[in-house]
Assembly symmetry: C2
Homo-oligomer: 232 residues x 2
DNA sequence: AAACCCAAAAGTGTCGACACTATTTTATTT
DNA sequence: AAATAAAATAGTGTCGACACTTTTGGGTTT
Protein backbone atom coordinates (compact mmCIF):
# COMPACT_ATOMS: atom_id res chain seq x y z
CA UNK A 1 0.00 0.00 0.00
CA UNK A 2 2.22 2.81 -1.13
CA UNK A 3 1.26 6.27 -0.29
CA UNK A 4 1.37 8.15 -3.58
CA UNK A 5 1.17 11.49 -1.86
CA UNK A 6 4.67 11.34 -0.49
CA UNK A 7 7.05 12.36 -3.27
CA UNK A 8 10.01 12.94 -0.96
CA UNK A 9 11.24 9.56 -2.13
CA UNK A 10 13.98 11.66 -3.71
CA UNK A 11 15.77 11.64 -0.38
CA UNK A 12 16.81 8.05 0.33
CA UNK A 13 18.06 9.49 3.57
CA UNK A 14 16.36 6.58 5.25
CA UNK A 15 18.67 7.24 8.14
CA UNK A 16 16.93 5.54 10.93
CA UNK A 17 15.41 7.37 13.88
CA UNK A 18 17.73 5.58 16.26
CA UNK A 19 20.67 6.91 14.27
CA UNK A 20 19.53 10.49 14.55
CA UNK A 21 18.73 10.02 18.21
CA UNK A 22 22.17 8.62 18.81
CA UNK A 23 23.80 11.56 17.06
CA UNK A 24 21.73 14.08 19.01
CA UNK A 25 22.41 12.44 22.33
CA UNK A 26 26.08 12.04 21.62
CA UNK A 27 26.38 15.72 20.77
CA UNK A 28 24.38 16.72 23.83
CA UNK A 29 26.55 14.64 26.10
CA UNK A 30 29.85 15.65 24.56
CA UNK A 31 28.98 19.32 24.75
CA UNK A 32 27.78 19.02 28.32
CA UNK A 33 24.15 19.76 27.55
CA UNK A 34 23.34 16.61 29.45
CA UNK A 35 25.50 16.94 32.52
CA UNK A 36 28.31 14.50 33.04
CA UNK A 37 27.46 12.09 35.83
CA UNK A 38 23.75 12.76 35.60
CA UNK A 39 21.19 10.01 35.47
CA UNK A 40 19.33 9.39 32.24
CA UNK A 41 15.61 8.88 32.67
CA UNK A 42 14.22 6.97 29.73
CA UNK A 43 10.62 8.18 30.02
CA UNK A 44 11.70 11.78 30.41
CA UNK A 45 14.13 11.74 27.49
CA UNK A 46 11.56 9.90 25.39
CA UNK A 47 9.00 12.66 25.97
CA UNK A 48 11.60 15.34 25.44
CA UNK A 49 12.68 13.95 22.07
CA UNK A 50 9.15 12.87 21.16
CA UNK A 51 10.23 9.30 20.64
CA UNK A 52 9.32 5.89 21.92
CA UNK A 53 11.36 4.28 24.62
CA UNK A 54 12.36 1.41 22.36
CA UNK A 55 14.27 3.55 19.92
CA UNK A 56 15.72 5.56 22.75
CA UNK A 57 17.00 2.44 24.43
CA UNK A 58 18.77 1.33 21.27
CA UNK A 59 20.45 4.72 21.06
CA UNK A 60 21.48 4.56 24.70
CA UNK A 61 22.88 1.11 24.06
CA UNK A 62 25.18 2.55 21.43
CA UNK A 63 26.23 5.35 23.73
CA UNK A 64 27.14 2.71 26.26
CA UNK A 65 29.24 0.85 23.73
CA UNK A 66 31.13 4.10 23.12
CA UNK A 67 31.62 4.50 26.83
CA UNK A 68 29.74 7.78 26.98
CA UNK A 69 27.19 6.36 29.40
CA UNK A 70 27.32 3.54 31.93
CA UNK A 71 24.41 1.26 32.52
CA UNK A 72 23.52 -0.95 35.40
CA UNK A 73 20.71 -3.51 35.14
CA UNK A 74 17.45 -2.25 36.57
CA UNK A 75 19.12 0.93 37.74
CA UNK A 76 19.37 2.81 34.50
CA UNK A 77 22.06 4.73 32.69
CA UNK A 78 24.28 7.58 33.82
CA UNK A 79 26.50 9.82 31.76
CA UNK A 80 30.10 8.93 32.50
CA UNK A 81 31.89 11.10 35.01
CA UNK A 82 35.14 12.48 33.74
CA UNK A 83 38.21 12.15 35.86
CA UNK A 84 41.82 13.19 35.55
CA UNK A 85 42.89 9.56 35.83
CA UNK A 86 40.66 8.53 32.95
CA UNK A 87 41.93 11.37 30.82
CA UNK A 88 45.48 10.16 31.33
CA UNK A 89 44.36 6.67 30.37
CA UNK A 90 42.95 8.04 27.15
CA UNK A 91 46.20 9.79 26.36
CA UNK A 92 48.07 6.55 26.83
CA UNK A 93 45.77 4.73 24.45
CA UNK A 94 46.01 7.57 21.97
CA UNK A 95 49.78 7.47 22.11
CA UNK A 96 49.75 3.80 21.23
CA UNK A 97 47.11 3.95 18.51
CA UNK A 98 48.05 7.22 16.87
CA UNK A 99 51.70 6.27 16.98
CA UNK A 100 50.84 3.19 14.97
CA UNK A 101 48.60 5.28 12.74
CA UNK A 102 51.47 7.61 11.93
CA UNK A 103 53.71 4.66 11.17
CA UNK A 104 51.15 3.20 8.79
CA UNK A 105 50.34 6.58 7.28
CA UNK A 106 53.98 7.02 6.37
CA UNK A 107 53.70 3.79 4.42
CA UNK A 108 50.21 4.01 3.03
CA UNK A 109 49.21 7.59 2.39
CA UNK A 110 49.01 8.53 -1.26
CA UNK A 111 51.20 11.35 -2.56
CA UNK A 112 48.00 13.26 -3.18
CA UNK A 113 46.89 12.93 0.43
CA UNK A 114 50.28 13.99 1.67
CA UNK A 115 50.34 17.14 -0.41
CA UNK A 116 46.83 18.00 0.75
CA UNK A 117 48.02 17.60 4.30
CA UNK A 118 50.90 19.93 3.58
CA UNK A 119 48.49 22.53 2.27
CA UNK A 120 46.36 22.16 5.36
CA UNK A 121 49.33 22.59 7.64
CA UNK A 122 50.47 25.72 5.78
CA UNK A 123 47.06 27.24 6.36
CA UNK A 124 47.33 26.45 10.03
CA UNK A 125 50.66 28.20 10.16
CA UNK A 126 49.17 31.34 8.61
CA UNK A 127 46.22 31.29 10.99
CA UNK A 128 48.53 31.12 13.95
CA UNK A 129 50.46 34.17 12.76
CA UNK A 130 47.38 36.18 11.90
CA UNK A 131 45.20 35.61 14.91
CA UNK A 132 47.32 34.95 17.92
CA UNK A 133 45.43 33.61 20.87
CA UNK A 134 42.28 32.48 19.12
CA UNK A 135 42.58 28.92 20.25
CA UNK A 136 39.30 27.84 18.74
CA UNK A 137 40.61 27.35 15.24
CA UNK A 138 43.79 25.79 16.51
CA UNK A 139 41.92 23.08 18.34
CA UNK A 140 39.89 22.32 15.25
CA UNK A 141 43.03 22.39 13.18
CA UNK A 142 44.83 20.04 15.49
CA UNK A 143 41.93 17.63 15.28
CA UNK A 144 41.84 17.89 11.48
CA UNK A 145 45.50 17.06 11.23
CA UNK A 146 45.30 14.05 13.48
CA UNK A 147 42.13 12.92 11.78
CA UNK A 148 43.79 12.88 8.37
CA UNK A 149 46.74 10.93 9.56
CA UNK A 150 44.51 8.33 11.12
CA UNK A 151 42.60 8.06 7.85
CA UNK A 152 45.92 7.81 6.04
CA UNK A 153 46.80 4.67 7.96
CA UNK A 154 44.20 2.89 5.80
CA UNK A 155 43.67 0.53 8.73
CA UNK A 156 39.95 0.40 9.26
CA UNK A 157 40.16 -1.14 12.71
CA UNK A 158 42.41 1.69 13.77
CA UNK A 159 40.23 4.31 12.15
CA UNK A 160 37.15 2.98 13.85
CA UNK A 161 38.73 2.80 17.26
CA UNK A 162 40.14 6.30 17.13
CA UNK A 163 37.47 8.23 15.24
CA UNK A 164 34.41 6.46 16.59
CA UNK A 165 35.39 5.66 20.13
CA UNK A 166 38.19 7.79 21.49
CA UNK A 167 37.83 11.14 19.80
CA UNK A 168 34.32 11.74 21.11
CA UNK A 169 35.43 11.08 24.65
CA UNK A 170 38.34 13.43 24.09
CA UNK A 171 36.07 16.14 22.71
CA UNK A 172 33.93 15.72 25.80
CA UNK A 173 36.90 16.49 28.01
CA UNK A 174 37.79 19.52 25.91
CA UNK A 175 34.30 20.93 26.17
CA UNK A 176 33.86 20.35 29.84
CA UNK A 177 37.26 21.28 31.10
CA UNK A 178 37.70 23.94 28.46
CA UNK A 179 41.29 23.07 27.80
CA UNK A 180 42.80 26.00 26.05
CA UNK A 181 46.40 25.25 25.42
CA UNK A 182 48.92 27.98 24.87
CA UNK A 183 51.12 25.69 22.90
CA UNK A 184 49.60 26.03 19.46
CA UNK A 185 52.93 27.25 18.06
CA UNK A 186 54.68 24.29 19.61
CA UNK A 187 52.04 21.89 18.36
CA UNK A 188 52.35 23.36 14.88
CA UNK A 189 56.08 22.75 14.91
CA UNK A 190 55.60 19.18 16.01
CA UNK A 191 53.05 18.63 13.26
CA UNK A 192 55.61 19.93 10.81
CA UNK A 193 58.32 17.54 11.95
CA UNK A 194 55.90 14.67 11.78
CA UNK A 195 54.78 15.56 8.30
CA UNK A 196 58.38 15.69 7.17
CA UNK A 197 58.87 12.15 8.35
CA UNK A 198 55.79 11.08 6.42
CA UNK A 199 56.99 12.84 3.29
CA UNK A 200 60.25 10.95 3.67
CA UNK A 201 58.21 7.75 4.14
CA UNK A 202 60.12 7.15 7.36
CA UNK A 203 57.60 5.04 9.27
CA UNK A 204 59.74 4.51 12.34
CA UNK A 205 60.40 8.21 12.71
CA UNK A 206 56.78 9.10 12.10
CA UNK A 207 55.65 6.88 14.94
CA UNK A 208 58.29 8.28 17.24
CA UNK A 209 57.36 11.87 16.49
CA UNK A 210 53.67 11.26 16.86
CA UNK A 211 54.18 9.65 20.22
CA UNK A 212 56.33 12.52 21.36
CA UNK A 213 53.73 14.96 20.14
CA UNK A 214 50.97 13.28 22.10
CA UNK A 215 53.09 12.93 25.21
CA UNK A 216 53.88 16.61 24.94
CA UNK A 217 50.18 17.39 24.75
CA UNK A 218 49.61 15.12 27.72
CA UNK A 219 52.23 16.93 29.79
CA UNK A 220 50.53 20.19 28.93
CA UNK A 221 47.25 18.84 30.23
CA UNK A 222 48.92 17.54 33.35
CA UNK A 223 50.33 21.00 33.94
CA UNK A 224 46.94 22.61 33.56
CA UNK A 225 45.47 20.22 36.10
CA UNK A 226 48.25 20.83 38.58
CA UNK A 227 47.79 24.58 38.30
CA UNK A 228 44.08 24.14 38.70
CA UNK A 229 44.54 22.18 41.88
CA UNK A 230 47.04 24.64 43.31
CA UNK A 231 44.51 27.39 42.79
CA UNK A 232 41.92 25.70 44.97
CA UNK B 1 19.92 0.82 56.38
CA UNK B 2 21.57 -2.53 56.26
CA UNK B 3 19.28 -5.43 55.72
CA UNK B 4 20.66 -8.25 57.84
CA UNK B 5 18.17 -10.80 56.59
CA UNK B 6 19.06 -10.91 52.90
CA UNK B 7 22.59 -12.22 52.58
CA UNK B 8 22.11 -13.32 48.98
CA UNK B 9 22.35 -9.67 47.98
CA UNK B 10 25.80 -10.80 46.94
CA UNK B 11 24.30 -12.53 43.91
CA UNK B 12 22.48 -9.94 41.80
CA UNK B 13 21.35 -12.58 39.37
CA UNK B 14 19.28 -9.91 37.67
CA UNK B 15 21.39 -10.39 34.56
CA UNK B 16 19.16 -9.16 31.82
CA UNK B 17 17.87 -11.29 28.99
CA UNK B 18 19.58 -9.10 26.46
CA UNK B 19 22.87 -9.78 28.23
CA UNK B 20 22.46 -13.53 28.02
CA UNK B 21 21.32 -13.27 24.42
CA UNK B 22 24.36 -11.20 23.58
CA UNK B 23 26.67 -13.73 25.19
CA UNK B 24 25.00 -16.63 23.37
CA UNK B 25 25.10 -14.91 20.02
CA UNK B 26 28.67 -13.77 20.46
CA UNK B 27 29.76 -17.30 21.27
CA UNK B 28 27.77 -18.70 18.37
CA UNK B 29 29.33 -16.23 15.96
CA UNK B 30 32.86 -16.55 17.26
CA UNK B 31 32.73 -20.34 17.10
CA UNK B 32 31.24 -20.30 13.62
CA UNK B 33 27.90 -21.76 14.64
CA UNK B 34 26.36 -18.84 12.83
CA UNK B 35 28.32 -18.73 9.62
CA UNK B 36 30.55 -15.79 8.92
CA UNK B 37 29.04 -13.62 6.22
CA UNK B 38 25.56 -15.03 6.68
CA UNK B 39 22.51 -12.87 7.02
CA UNK B 40 20.79 -12.61 10.36
CA UNK B 41 17.03 -12.85 10.20
CA UNK B 42 15.50 -11.24 13.24
CA UNK B 43 12.21 -13.18 13.19
CA UNK B 44 13.97 -16.49 12.71
CA UNK B 45 16.51 -15.95 15.47
CA UNK B 46 13.79 -14.64 17.74
CA UNK B 47 11.83 -17.86 17.30
CA UNK B 48 14.94 -19.95 17.66
CA UNK B 49 15.93 -18.37 20.95
CA UNK B 50 12.32 -18.01 22.10
CA UNK B 51 12.71 -14.30 22.58
CA UNK B 52 11.04 -11.15 21.42
CA UNK B 53 12.52 -9.17 18.58
CA UNK B 54 13.07 -6.14 20.77
CA UNK B 55 15.53 -7.84 23.06
CA UNK B 56 17.16 -9.52 20.12
CA UNK B 57 17.66 -6.22 18.38
CA UNK B 58 19.39 -4.75 21.40
CA UNK B 59 21.72 -7.74 21.49
CA UNK B 60 22.46 -7.39 17.78
CA UNK B 61 23.17 -3.73 18.36
CA UNK B 62 25.88 -4.65 20.81
CA UNK B 63 27.31 -7.21 18.42
CA UNK B 64 27.49 -4.45 15.85
CA UNK B 65 29.37 -2.19 18.26
CA UNK B 66 31.89 -4.98 18.71
CA UNK B 67 32.20 -5.30 14.96
CA UNK B 68 31.00 -8.89 14.91
CA UNK B 69 28.06 -8.02 12.69
CA UNK B 70 27.45 -5.27 10.17
CA UNK B 71 24.11 -3.63 9.80
CA UNK B 72 22.58 -1.66 6.98
CA UNK B 73 19.35 0.29 7.45
CA UNK B 74 16.31 -1.63 6.24
CA UNK B 75 18.48 -4.41 4.94
CA UNK B 76 19.35 -6.17 8.13
CA UNK B 77 22.48 -7.50 9.76
CA UNK B 78 25.16 -9.84 8.47
CA UNK B 79 27.92 -11.57 10.36
CA UNK B 80 31.20 -9.98 9.38
CA UNK B 81 33.23 -11.73 6.72
CA UNK B 82 36.76 -12.43 7.75
CA UNK B 83 39.57 -11.52 5.45
CA UNK B 84 43.31 -11.79 5.51
CA UNK B 85 43.63 -8.04 5.21
CA UNK B 86 41.44 -7.46 8.21
CA UNK B 87 43.39 -9.97 10.25
CA UNK B 88 46.58 -8.08 9.52
CA UNK B 89 44.88 -4.88 10.57
CA UNK B 90 43.96 -6.46 13.88
CA UNK B 91 47.54 -7.53 14.42
CA UNK B 92 48.71 -3.98 13.86
CA UNK B 93 46.26 -2.64 16.39
CA UNK B 94 47.21 -5.36 18.82
CA UNK B 95 50.87 -4.52 18.43
CA UNK B 96 50.17 -0.92 19.35
CA UNK B 97 47.79 -1.58 22.23
CA UNK B 98 49.47 -4.58 23.78
CA UNK B 99 52.84 -2.92 23.44
CA UNK B 100 51.52 -0.07 25.52
CA UNK B 101 49.88 -2.56 27.88
CA UNK B 102 53.20 -4.26 28.48
CA UNK B 103 54.86 -0.91 29.11
CA UNK B 104 52.23 0.02 31.67
CA UNK B 105 52.19 -3.44 33.21
CA UNK B 106 55.92 -3.14 33.89
CA UNK B 107 55.12 -0.02 35.85
CA UNK B 108 51.84 -0.93 37.49
CA UNK B 109 51.63 -4.65 38.16
CA UNK B 110 51.87 -5.58 41.82
CA UNK B 111 54.64 -7.88 42.95
CA UNK B 112 51.94 -10.40 43.76
CA UNK B 113 50.54 -10.31 40.24
CA UNK B 114 53.99 -10.68 38.77
CA UNK B 115 54.80 -13.75 40.82
CA UNK B 116 51.47 -15.29 39.89
CA UNK B 117 52.33 -14.69 36.27
CA UNK B 118 55.67 -16.39 36.79
CA UNK B 119 53.90 -19.41 38.24
CA UNK B 120 51.55 -19.50 35.29
CA UNK B 121 54.39 -19.35 32.82
CA UNK B 122 56.24 -22.16 34.58
CA UNK B 123 53.16 -24.34 34.22
CA UNK B 124 53.03 -23.54 30.54
CA UNK B 125 56.62 -24.61 30.18
CA UNK B 126 55.90 -27.96 31.79
CA UNK B 127 52.84 -28.52 29.63
CA UNK B 128 54.88 -27.91 26.52
CA UNK B 129 57.45 -30.50 27.54
CA UNK B 130 54.87 -33.07 28.58
CA UNK B 131 52.45 -32.97 25.72
CA UNK B 132 54.20 -31.93 22.58
CA UNK B 133 51.89 -31.03 19.79
CA UNK B 134 48.70 -30.54 21.73
CA UNK B 135 48.24 -26.99 20.62
CA UNK B 136 44.90 -26.54 22.37
CA UNK B 137 46.32 -25.80 25.77
CA UNK B 138 49.03 -23.65 24.29
CA UNK B 139 46.54 -21.36 22.63
CA UNK B 140 44.61 -21.00 25.84
CA UNK B 141 47.82 -20.43 27.70
CA UNK B 142 48.96 -17.77 25.30
CA UNK B 143 45.65 -15.99 25.71
CA UNK B 144 45.86 -16.24 29.51
CA UNK B 145 49.30 -14.71 29.53
CA UNK B 146 48.35 -11.80 27.31
CA UNK B 147 45.14 -11.32 29.22
CA UNK B 148 46.97 -10.93 32.51
CA UNK B 149 49.40 -8.43 31.15
CA UNK B 150 46.60 -6.34 29.76
CA UNK B 151 44.89 -6.44 33.15
CA UNK B 152 48.19 -5.52 34.73
CA UNK B 153 48.32 -2.28 32.78
CA UNK B 154 45.58 -1.03 35.12
CA UNK B 155 44.38 1.15 32.25
CA UNK B 156 40.68 0.53 31.95
CA UNK B 157 40.37 2.06 28.51
CA UNK B 158 43.05 -0.26 27.28
CA UNK B 159 41.55 -3.27 29.04
CA UNK B 160 38.15 -2.59 27.55
CA UNK B 161 39.44 -2.11 24.04
CA UNK B 162 41.52 -5.28 24.05
CA UNK B 163 39.43 -7.67 26.09
CA UNK B 164 35.99 -6.58 24.97
CA UNK B 165 36.57 -5.63 21.37
CA UNK B 166 39.64 -7.16 19.83
CA UNK B 167 40.06 -10.50 21.53
CA UNK B 168 36.67 -11.80 20.43
CA UNK B 169 37.39 -10.95 16.84
CA UNK B 170 40.73 -12.67 17.17
CA UNK B 171 39.17 -15.77 18.68
CA UNK B 172 36.78 -15.81 15.76
CA UNK B 173 39.69 -16.00 13.34
CA UNK B 174 41.29 -18.75 15.36
CA UNK B 175 38.13 -20.84 15.32
CA UNK B 176 37.34 -20.38 11.68
CA UNK B 177 40.78 -20.61 10.19
CA UNK B 178 41.90 -23.13 12.77
CA UNK B 179 45.28 -21.54 13.19
CA UNK B 180 47.45 -24.09 14.83
CA UNK B 181 50.86 -22.64 15.23
CA UNK B 182 53.92 -24.82 15.59
CA UNK B 183 55.74 -22.12 17.43
CA UNK B 184 54.55 -22.73 20.97
CA UNK B 185 58.13 -23.26 22.15
CA UNK B 186 59.17 -20.02 20.50
CA UNK B 187 56.19 -18.17 21.96
CA UNK B 188 57.02 -19.55 25.37
CA UNK B 189 60.53 -18.20 25.12
CA UNK B 190 59.28 -14.81 24.08
CA UNK B 191 56.87 -14.75 26.99
CA UNK B 192 59.77 -15.49 29.25
CA UNK B 193 61.87 -12.63 27.96
CA UNK B 194 58.96 -10.30 28.30
CA UNK B 195 58.26 -11.38 31.85
CA UNK B 196 61.89 -10.78 32.75
CA UNK B 197 61.58 -7.23 31.55
CA UNK B 198 58.49 -6.77 33.68
CA UNK B 199 60.22 -8.23 36.71
CA UNK B 200 62.99 -5.73 36.14
CA UNK B 201 60.34 -3.01 35.83
CA UNK B 202 61.87 -2.07 32.49
CA UNK B 203 58.85 -0.50 30.76
CA UNK B 204 60.65 0.42 27.56
CA UNK B 205 62.01 -3.08 27.12
CA UNK B 206 58.67 -4.66 27.97
CA UNK B 207 56.95 -2.73 25.22
CA UNK B 208 59.68 -3.59 22.74
CA UNK B 209 59.53 -7.30 23.52
CA UNK B 210 55.75 -7.42 23.42
CA UNK B 211 55.73 -5.76 20.03
CA UNK B 212 58.33 -8.17 18.72
CA UNK B 213 56.34 -11.07 20.11
CA UNK B 214 53.17 -9.98 18.34
CA UNK B 215 54.98 -9.23 15.10
CA UNK B 216 56.49 -12.67 15.29
CA UNK B 217 53.05 -14.17 15.71
CA UNK B 218 51.84 -12.08 12.80
CA UNK B 219 54.62 -13.34 10.54
CA UNK B 220 53.67 -16.87 11.49
CA UNK B 221 50.10 -16.22 10.42
CA UNK B 222 51.27 -14.62 7.19
CA UNK B 223 53.28 -17.73 6.48
CA UNK B 224 50.32 -19.99 7.07
CA UNK B 225 48.24 -17.96 4.67
CA UNK B 226 50.88 -18.00 1.97
CA UNK B 227 51.20 -21.77 2.27
CA UNK B 228 47.47 -22.08 2.13
CA UNK B 229 47.28 -20.10 -1.05
CA UNK B 230 50.10 -22.03 -2.69
CA UNK B 231 48.21 -25.24 -2.02
CA UNK B 232 45.19 -24.07 -3.98
C1' DA C 1 13.21 11.29 66.60
C1' DA C 2 15.29 7.38 64.39
C1' DA C 3 14.59 2.86 62.54
C1' DC C 4 11.60 -0.28 60.42
C1' DC C 5 7.88 -1.88 57.49
C1' DC C 6 4.56 -1.47 53.96
C1' DA C 7 2.00 0.58 50.10
C1' DA C 8 2.31 3.74 46.14
C1' DA C 9 4.92 5.70 42.47
C1' DA C 10 8.35 5.70 39.13
C1' DG C 11 11.64 3.24 36.24
C1' DT C 12 13.55 -0.50 33.60
C1' DG C 13 13.05 -5.01 30.97
C1' DT C 14 10.31 -7.54 27.79
C1' DC C 15 6.78 -8.30 24.65
C1' DG C 16 3.39 -8.19 20.69
C1' DA C 17 1.39 -5.24 17.13
C1' DC C 18 1.51 -1.90 13.42
C1' DA C 19 3.93 0.94 9.64
C1' DC C 20 6.99 1.25 6.25
C1' DT C 21 10.66 -0.79 3.12
C1' DA C 22 12.77 -4.41 0.40
C1' DT C 23 12.20 -8.77 -1.94
C1' DT C 24 9.87 -12.28 -4.23
C1' DT C 25 6.08 -13.93 -6.86
C1' DT C 26 2.54 -13.39 -10.09
C1' DA C 27 0.36 -11.17 -13.85
C1' DT C 28 0.61 -8.46 -18.06
C1' DT C 29 2.46 -6.68 -22.27
C1' DT C 30 5.53 -6.82 -26.25
C1' DA D 1 9.57 -16.22 -24.23
C1' DA D 2 11.66 -12.01 -22.25
C1' DA D 3 10.78 -7.87 -20.07
C1' DT D 4 8.13 -5.05 -17.34
C1' DA D 5 4.61 -3.95 -13.89
C1' DA D 6 1.72 -5.11 -10.06
C1' DA D 7 0.59 -7.67 -6.04
C1' DA D 8 1.80 -10.51 -2.28
C1' DT D 9 5.23 -11.78 1.03
C1' DA D 10 8.80 -11.22 4.21
C1' DG D 11 11.73 -8.14 6.96
C1' DT D 12 13.08 -4.08 9.47
C1' DG D 13 11.83 0.25 12.20
C1' DT D 14 8.88 2.17 15.61
C1' DC D 15 5.51 2.22 18.99
C1' DG D 16 2.49 1.44 23.18
C1' DA D 17 1.41 -1.82 26.86
C1' DC D 18 2.42 -5.02 30.57
C1' DA D 19 5.58 -7.28 34.15
C1' DC D 20 8.91 -6.95 37.32
C1' DT D 21 12.33 -4.15 40.10
C1' DT D 22 13.80 -0.15 42.56
C1' DT D 23 12.83 4.00 44.88
C1' DT D 24 9.83 7.04 47.37
C1' DG D 25 6.75 8.42 50.94
C1' DG D 26 3.85 7.78 54.89
C1' DG D 27 2.60 5.35 58.91
C1' DT D 28 3.92 2.36 62.84
C1' DT D 29 6.91 0.88 66.54
C1' DT D 30 10.71 1.40 69.82
Amino acid sequence: MQNHITPQKTAPLSITLTDRLFDSLQRAIVEGEIASGSKISEPELARQYRVSRGSLREAIGRLEARKLVERKPNLGARVVTLSYEQLIEIFQVREALEGMAARLAAQNMSDQEISELQTLLTEHGQQIEEQQGQAYFQKQGDLDFHYRIVQGSKNRQLIGLLCNDLYHLLRMYRYQFGMRSKRSQQAYNEHHFLLNAIVARDAEMAELLMRQHIRSSQRNVEGVFLNLNSEL
